[in-house]
Symmetry: C2
Subunit: 249 residues, 2 copies
Amino acid sequence: MTRYKAIISYDGYNFAGFQRQPNARTVQEEIEKTLQRLNRGQAVTIHGAGRTDSGVHAYGQVIHFDLEGERNVEKLRFALDTQTAEDIDVIALEEVADDFHCRYAKHSKTYEFLVDIGRPKNPMMRHYATHYPYPLDFSRIEEAIGYLEGTHDFTGFTASGTAVENKVRTITAAKVRLDRERNFLIFTFTGNGFLYKQVRNMVGTLLKIGNNRMPIEQVERILDEKDRSLAGPTAAGNGLYLKEIIYEE
Amino acid sequence: MTRYKAIISYDGYNFAGFQRQPNARTVQEEIEKTLQRLNRGQAVTIHGAGRTDSGVHAYGQVIHFDLEGERNVEKLRFALDTQTAEDIDVIALEEVADDFHCRYAKHSKTYEFLVDIGRPKNPMMRHYATHYPYPLDFSRIEEAIGYLEGTHDFTGFTASGTAVENKVRTITAAKVRLDRERNFLIFTFTGNGFLYKQVRNMVGTLLKIGNNRMPIEQVERILDEKDRSLAGPTAAGNGLYLKEIIYEE
């Protein structure tokens, strides 16, 4: 048995998310169907580092899976890439140690969130950015996002009723920039792990602050009081990208 | 009767093109359906300045149509925008003179063509840029594109069997730039009119020259000899955008 690690990208628009579920098209199922064909009809289970939600995109999702025997990795990558649906690309593939687990091996993840602030909006981007046509004070967002960096209990920014007990995470970088040519606001968050809907709740809160409907210091209060109801709305999944995963050596 | 001119944008992916045709979804039909509803069930015909092909996008297509009586233009724009399919946006609307015709009034058009030169390609852009994963010498393209500016007979760059007799057109600007961050090559062509498939044939030829499979001077030869078989392949429609139309006063 050999364990393989692959980096994949996908357009999340036509997926009900990464994780397999009944009666819905998922990234996991599409890749497992191809792997089964490449494995003489025997089922193969894949694991994903990030279980992206419905509509969420990926440039650098990481998966792992096991196959009997040894394969030429470039031939396997090519077969997997070309035989899987056109909205999934298999970018890289390598052999890894038998005990590597893409989700449990220590890593940092980078998420990007794209906001189309153009008026009119760009119809080509309607599945690839969240449209926010309201006035925004960029300097307020820049100031507020600084409070998110560091090690905090992010309970106030996760969906209520999440099963995970420890909600302390570290965000090593939280940035926002304005692409004036394309009329996009681009948020980037890097950290050692993110809670369910955390990025989308942080973005929804930052937009509300930028729109002057919430004080800048509210970010600190949400972290301190761990109260989801103090935060802004959950931003739509169509603007979210799992950009990169970097494993510790 | 009042004549209205509107600027519209659309995502061409799910359209068989602008112009109405049987058994296919078109931009014209979608807008005419909405206008008929807004016109107490009476059919309305729209005219488009550029009859974009299947898969081709628009940021600044111009249409015109007539309605009985007078309407508030912002209310009409809003109704048309929100009641038409989500892949079409109605950006602007104004009253114009009864004899204005969006296609025959003197104007210049700007087309943009996006080439994704990234390896791996970007799955989010698969309907919005043409993927060209082969080596390209950017300086060769820059040099070749210069031959296209000016007034020429573009017979060699149009689809054979075109009905239009006069194939002399003026290109006032033909530019290419490299967006290194997004790994895109962006072509821009402005002129007083373009022949059927002209932009896609020019791009297909320029890419072949950039890939070193055709001499730079071939562009001049295609113009001189008016021979389509000397030009490169027609680039796919998914990278083409009708960007802007400017009317003479």
